[in-house]
Symmetry: C2
Subunit: 404 residues, 2 copies
Amino acid sequence: MAANKQELEINLLGREEQQRRLEKVYAAMRKAGLTSGIVRDNADIYYLTGRVFRGFVFVSPGLEAPLYFVRRPNHLRCDEADRLHLIKRPEEIAPVLERLGIEPGENLGLELDAIPYAEAMRLAAVFGRVPQGNLTPVMRTARAVKTDKELAMIRISGTKQSLVYERIPHVFREGMTDIEFQIEIERSLRLEGCLGQFRMAGADMELFMGNLLTGENSDTPSTYDFAMGGAGADPSLPVGADGTIIKPGVPVMVDMNGNFNGYMTDMTRMYVEGEPSEPARKAIKLSIDICAEVSAMMQPGARACDLYARALEMATAAGMEEYFMGHRYHAGFVGHGIGIEVNELPVLAPRSRDILQAGNVIAVEPKFVIPGVGAVGIENTYAVHADRPAERLTTTREEFITLD
Amino acid sequence: MAANKQELEINLLGREEQQRRLEKVYAAMRKAGLTSGIVRDNADIYYLTGRVFRGFVFVSPGLEAPLYFVRRPNHLRCDEADRLHLIKRPEEIAPVLERLGIEPGENLGLELDAIPYAEAMRLAAVFGRVPQGNLTPVMRTARAVKTDKELAMIRISGTKQSLVYERIPHVFREGMTDIEFQIEIERSLRLEGCLGQFRMAGADMELFMGNLLTGENSDTPSTYDFAMGGAGADPSLPVGADGTIIKPGVPVMVDMNGNFNGYMTDMTRMYVEGEPSEPARKAIKLSIDICAEVSAMMQPGARACDLYARALEMATAAGMEEYFMGHRYHAGFVGHGIGIEVNELPVLAPRSRDILQAGNVIAVEPKFVIPGVGAVGIENTYAVHADRPAERLTTTREEFITLD
């Protein structure tokens, strides 16, 4: 709690941890030919400083440490006074750099996939340029390989999310709708410390606290680029639970928010009142097997596309290809990196060129949408290690969890 | 519930209502010199069709009706088959227009303040151009004047939000933290039908379900551009409740999510366990008086800056200028338009050039942050009418509400 502090430290990571992250960023910048960059996206600012603030971080492989340009509020401080600059408008950045003798170099990068067109134009104009280098893939590449400290934070989220998922049967009541059930799970998550916020890359992605699906609603495709769909409660947010009453024997897929500290895990578990049907049992068994198989392949150097191919192969061998990752609509991936945002690198997809590295954190979600049965499948988040098998961070038991 | 429908109508508004909205958009486009526009932002797509979908709406004052380019899923339909086009990539838009003999004209607008740089460049390149006309202010201008149907939806949100706010004392328990209290209010809102989502213009704005402030945390400035601050529970989302225990006699400011159907109201009310202090009583009285005064000025033709000036004048006359709209940090506005997003036009601010129009919906939030007391003030949402006084849409009683 910082309520009473007159000033707050801008770099909450500590110099060493920040340096570790910056080295990843600088390596990716060099590879992309960027001489400097202005970071504005909240997810990236959080990555570089351990806090979100309104403003900019100026990074350059030639600089000893980044510069901070803070638009508001004025209560931040920095040990190195010449690194923190309070500004009102981005136009104030260039004169500060000039005064400090810092030259952005030939290729100044901006987060061109993340910040609005008008803002990118204004920032580039500050330096008399048009936007050129794209910092978004650079930051995504750097963030894909987690530091030990990041892993520790993701582990905490995994532990808390798993605790809540174990307790989910306690908040179920017979005759609930999917929305009512979701609301009780939201509350349990929030009381355990879930921040609620669900950061996603991509300006057209929207979701509130996660996705809970049961019955025929499971087969309603979503307009968003998620693995699963659902009609949602309203056409203004067409995804997820739609008011379907949860019925005995009908599977309920729970895929809710695992953000407890700015870093998240992604976990899906299946719940059922009474006994699941035979097809549902077979589908969850297959999903668990695919998770085990795919996570066993999670070694540095493995190709992300091979992990997808193996998952699809197992689904096909089981005669379940038609239902794999959807039925009326098929999602084009079986897993995705996760960390500050829910859709990071690497992506486990057919045409993915990502190569797994130690430090990747990957959610694997082999799911099946079977008409007359619903959505069935689990999702785990794994950390990839250099010297040992992938570590499962979402520890809740994988089989159907009974709601009675 | 649309779960079982194989196809969904793309225009949920009906032709007449859509036409009403398009006329506003076209008028603003003509004024801005735009000959056509490609709408991609979810808030604007919702405005034009009554639903969110992943894709684009092509608008042009010369066209009888807009064209829809839908990226996924493939379950949407349109009465006029030649208006709905399923595409995988934006590059497919231009050939369709060409085939239909539709010419985008000299000045094609994109939502340059909303969509990412890379996406704007790609869309413009589809037509062999660089991004030029800005559709964001056009859409904001159109959306600032609500249709009767939009007003009806906002009224529904106001009614539901007001019901929940009346019931808030029932979910309070002695010794709760601000976060625990907020979680119970979130649950009450959600059970009443609140969608949870909180749409905001501006890529750097983040908030989860609203803001609840008590004690000294009220005086912690937020990095975001909200009226009030608070340290928040985590540096990754530094705004709002921070775990402060709610104490007898200490005011609690509740400013939570009023989105029940894609349109929202904004309301703040004050709660207190036991009796509020004399300064708190005086502050809420002043806030209520300012709301009454400012809303009485809400006539078509009134200048938004005059409403702000009057609010500031009243605060100053009461000797409360130092605490008006914050203490350590002062927000630069006392009210804002609201509808699909929480920060629409007009803005009640010193340098605002907005002129009030019938159909504006405006949240007014004269708030005071007083050291040793906390944040005190109310917020109401009003609709501006041509022929009668402004209509208050947030009907919960305005005085302190007792938590015992």
